[in-house]
Symmetry: C2
């Protein structure tokens, strides 16, 4: 706050060099803390920087070095979904914390509002050194080809024919869903339904597959399926459809707690008591699973760690270091007696 701030535009590197009595290169070296500068040079340059209140111009740096020092976090969703889902908050927080130690800046791009095209141009236009893409739908295939122009890592396995080419960090949705569904079976449930996620997201697909593995593994029917889009409303609608079908069920795996938050009200209104009449288990140990009535047995994903991991792998990718193409993070069953 002690910096002189006289008009005449921002001070330039050249002015710092003049004041410090060195060349522009030396100033540049000090700024980028190159090892090859004498302590005295460093001192005088730093003094000059302080005195002038000099701040390097990002655009010039980027243009000359071809590095932006910033990464994007792309969420191909509407802001409403983005803010409604604690999953995003936790992953972003993890990524932000990891990046806080570095010189990188995080730009959040909620692409449904920005327009997918605008975002793609932004990423391809050299605005960022790399990007994390969360919640990847199959209709966002184009993000995958972007990986050729900029380091890219996906949070959750991307849906794509060329999938095998993309880097991603994910949890084992299939296995976790199978395990939590088996709790229902262990609790004696025999007619087990599911409210699955969307077919165009890998999390939707994989969790359905896990449920199916559990029920067919126990010799049970795998026909009671309704789908939602992970939102509370869609969960309520799916529950209503499930009831309309008139087939009895005594167990239910809901592929996200957000959907469960909508579905539970519908079940209650239909007079179904949980867990007396039907056991319910879900996915995501968030606010909704914890505060549901009753609190739900669920799968906990390491969301914060996943965010940190995404950031770390992206930095490696940017640095050109070797990075495993797929990283699988562990999940946990949180037992709450709702099964």
């Amino acid at each position: 706050m002690e910096t002189t701030d006289i008009a005449a535009g921002s001070p330039t590197l050249e002015m710092v060099a003049a004041l410090a009595g060195v060349s522009r290169s030396t100033v540049s070296r000090v700024i980028n803390d190159s090892p090859k500068v004498t302590p005295q040079a460093i001192a005088s340059v730093e003094a000059a920087i302080e005195q002038l209140g000099y701040v390097p111009n990002r655009a010039a740096r980027t243009l000359a070095s071809r590095r932006t020092q910033s990464v994007a976090l792309v969420i191909p969703e509407t802001t409403a979904k983005f803010f409604g889902d604690p999953y995003f908050a936790e992953v972003i927080q993890g990524a932000a914390l990891r990046l806080a130690d570095t010189d990188y800046t995080l730009s959040l791009l909620i692409s449904a509002e920005n327009g997918t095209d605008k975002v793609r141009r932004y990423l391809a236009g050299g605005n960022v050194d790399g990007a994390i893409v969360l919640s990847h739908h199959s209709d966002d295939l184009s993000y995958i080809s972007l990986a050729r122009s900029v380091p890219l890592i996906f949070g959750g396995r991307p849906m794509s024919a060329e999938g095998p080419a993309a880097h991603y960090v994910d949890v084992d949705n299939v296995h976790a869903s199978q395990v939590v569904t088996e709790r229902l079976i262990a609790a004696g449930r025999r007619r087990i339904a599911t409210i699955a996620g969307p077919a165009d997201m890998s999390a939707g697909q994989d969790r359905l597959e896990g449920w199916r593995a559990a029920v067919t593994g126990a010799g049970l029917s795998d026909e009671k399926i309704e789908r939602g889009d992970f939102s509370p409303d869609s969960g309520a609608a799916a529950a209503a459809r499930l009831l309309e079908r008139g087939e009895r069920f005594d167990g239910l795996f809901i592929a996200s707690s957000l959907m469960a938050s909508g579905a539970l009200g519908v079940l209650r209104q239909a007079g179904i008591r949980i867990p007396e009449d039907a056991g319910v288990v879900t996915f995501d140990n968030d606010y909704f699973a914890q505060n549901a009535n009753p609190p739900l047995t669920t799968i906990e994903q390491p969301t914060g760690a996943l965010g940190r991991r995404l950031a770390t792998e992206l930095l490696r990718l940017i640095a050109g270091e070797p990075v495993p193409r797929v990283t699988v993070m562990p999940t946990l069953v949180v037992e709450r007696g709702s099964e």
Copy 2:
């Protein structure tokens, strides 16, 4: 997706010029849709751009034009608070929607995690053409002086000695709080307490002042005050302290629904029924006010409109157009019978 994407780095403006058979200046004019270009020139340039899959380099553009085409939205809070408070979500959504029509990009900077200094350097370093600062604490004074180096607009009146210099958009917190508190009085309440917001935020200060105006205006005591920081936990703690004081109250104004969401549980556990034993009114018509038990009479702020307005005024500021130094947006009382 039809663009050729041969290696050899991104195509440059120069390559486009060569292919289109015009000069670089003309290409630049087409890109910036200058009026002084012949339709034919436009056509051939656009064809070349399409064929090469050319995307202008942002850094070069910024460096040459001294415009970044991006604005920052700064939230001087932790990510936890940021995601926990629907207010931010709605304001941001409003701003994002307004900006979606323009060529501007929005960078979200949650500054408690990024480090305030890092953010300030970022803003002063010419990375953005302007910035919106939301939720301004008195210890973030430094943001105000930033206004000298970059167009800045505050969401909520900034706390500062030099306050009179800053542009901001706000609601009339004093008046709204007074009005909603007067509902308590009209309902016959005579011992009215408040859970106020933090003293270092104008919203905290102003809402307390409004409450005080209402109670003293009715000749009632203005001594039952406990403070929180707008978070649910702080609301619960403040409610607990209020009860510990042992003074009876039959009315309570809680300065945010978020705090109310924490406070109500404490009151319930103490056996206080709402509104039978005590009337409760609050501020913010969000999820928490709507779904509280009972639903709460509250003040509704036009959060989305506020976000749009912030964006609009910032764009004007950037364009050098005259902008009112303070804009006050209207609020609404939402009656739910909890008083």
